[in-house]
Symmetry: C2
Subunit: 307 residues, 2 copies
């Protein structure tokens, strides 16, 4: 039976990624959109999720593509109405609210899928398999991009809950938490806030695994020119390097052939499978690390940022 899906929040990420992935995925069909300022031709459109849920359009599942700050009320309404829910990353503005959503999904026996699209990048699973058999000495994450290019005029991203440079940085953390065999925790965090903004534009993080392996991360939103989304793992057997956001892999200096990225198609394929059994896939570990980075963060004011 085909899952009847509604998208909530028809913004940039929904148009760039979700619509195409849904169309290409068997077992799921877009039947409605709830969005304040946008609609889709030929698809039932509503201003918000409450209007959608009060209508006679039948939906089985909801994919939330709105900014994280308002997502709790939307997700809660959907879960209370017995709908399966898929969350864009980051899953919410606070940990308390995403833990509450998970408890509610369990209570209502519906699926909750907290997605991390970067974990679907082509090099991630091969890297994970490879690292399971290696001795890891250190990990270095470099995640540097131009915020003006990737988030033009997105004011919410600079507001509390919008996470600033952790909006892309959490993608790196979602990969590292997947590929390393051991858990890790933060030991030092330096956050750089533009003097006119409520969210950091750069961060320097030092983690350690339980057994003491250092994991260093540099996140920066001020990089113009070539963009850097790299994770380098130094192992006793040689270096394992993921570049281009986890889509390319180099092992001991040799490039490996990896499949083409199908991040969002993989997400929707997995969601279809979760919904089939009303299963939950809600790993909030990347958001826990970001939350730790704020709690443990030492703050430095830097030059004002103007869009």
């Amino acid at each position: 039976m085909t899952i009847r899906l509604a998208i909530v929040g028809l913004g940039k990420i929904a148009r760039d990624q979700h619509l195409g992935a849904i169309a290409a995925t068997a077992g799921i069909e877009l039947v409605a959109v709830a969005s304040r300022n946008a609609a889709l031709d030929g698809i039932a459109s509503f201003n918000d999720i409450d209007e959608l849920l009060a209508s006679n359009i039948e939906v089985d599942a909801v994919s939330l593509c709105t900014p994280p700050q308002g997502r709790f009320a939307q997700a809660r309404a959907a879960l209370l109405a017995g709908k399966h829910v898929m969350l864009e990353k980051p899953p919410g503005a606070t940990l308390s609210e995403v833990y509450a959503l998970e408890a509610l999904a369990r209570e209502k026996h519906v699926s909750l899928f907290s997605t991390w699209h970067s974990r679907e990048a082509a090099a991630v699973e091969p890297a994970r398999a490879l690292l399971a058999g290696r001795t890891i000495r250190s990990v270095a994450v470099e995640w540097k991009e131009d915020v003006r290019h990737w988030h033009p005029g997105q004011a919410w991203i600079w507001e509390p809950g919008g996470l600033g440079v952790f909006d892309p940085g959490i993608n790196a953390l979602s990969i590292v938490t997947r590929i390393l065999p051991e858990a890790f925790h933060l030991v030092r965090s330096d956050l750089f806030f533009p003097e006119n903004r409520a969210a950091p534009i750069a961060a320097k993080l030092s983690f350690e695994t339980a057994s003491g392996v250092p994991v260093e991360a540099e996140l920066d939103w001020r990089q113009t020119g070539p963009q850097t989304w790299d994770i380098r793992i130094d192992t006793a057997e040689g270096p394992v390097v993921l570049t281009h956001g986890g889509s390319r892999l180099t092992v001991d200096g040799e490039p490996r052939i990896v499949e083409e990225d199908q991040e969002y198609r993989n997400l929707y394929r997995h969601f279809v499978s979760l919904v089939g059994d009303s299963r939950i896939d809600a790993d909030f570990t990347p958001l826990v690390h970001v939350s730790d980075a704020f709690m443990l963060g030492r703050r430095t004011a830097v030059e004002a940022f103007e869009d």
Copy 2:
């Protein structure tokens, strides 16, 4: 069989509270101390936990009274050595590390007790029982004290991981998370940082329960004169008020008689019972709220603080 206990970190809280409570509790006995700059007459004393664990002194359990920033390595060493562990509040400097400790305790089949002494204040359980049968309209927390009086010269408390005003504030959160029948999550957080310090001296927090009940909290470390540790719950049936840090209760305007506070004795009595079955009691919810308050916090610089 009596539990042979070691205290790690013989500082202010250990001397003010732990030593007396241990002496007054059946089933547990202090046999060792590990502390950099302190020792106890007649008790085996070591410089740190590694020296203690390498010695031939037999201990069954360890109570960690050190500042939260260095506690992970100590707790991990104790758990790996098969010791039961009791953690002072806050349980650690990050959520990732306390989650890792819980997983390790489970793996080693030993007890982990993440304590919240304020939950043992005399009015807390009566308030919890009462509120289970009432309709709650709003909650207001006022937690205002003089940092110079309560934390004289404690530099670690102003460092990242020391939590600043959340060091006392987390006590209020530990009570509210216990007495309210519903979970809640943060919707707005304002943090006030002295311009020369890395931790907040005051915070104003707005939470909401899942069903929309507002929970407001004002934390302030700048209050001289009378100190305020109050939680007021407005219910349809009348006000329920906890004062004096949860040790006194007023219901519908009438003071209720409550027993004398035995916070730390209750903690050690509970620890003895946990260790008997190698059970875990690790509710990190108060630290999750603090972490959320930092992640969602809007920061304002205020007057420099000098000790």
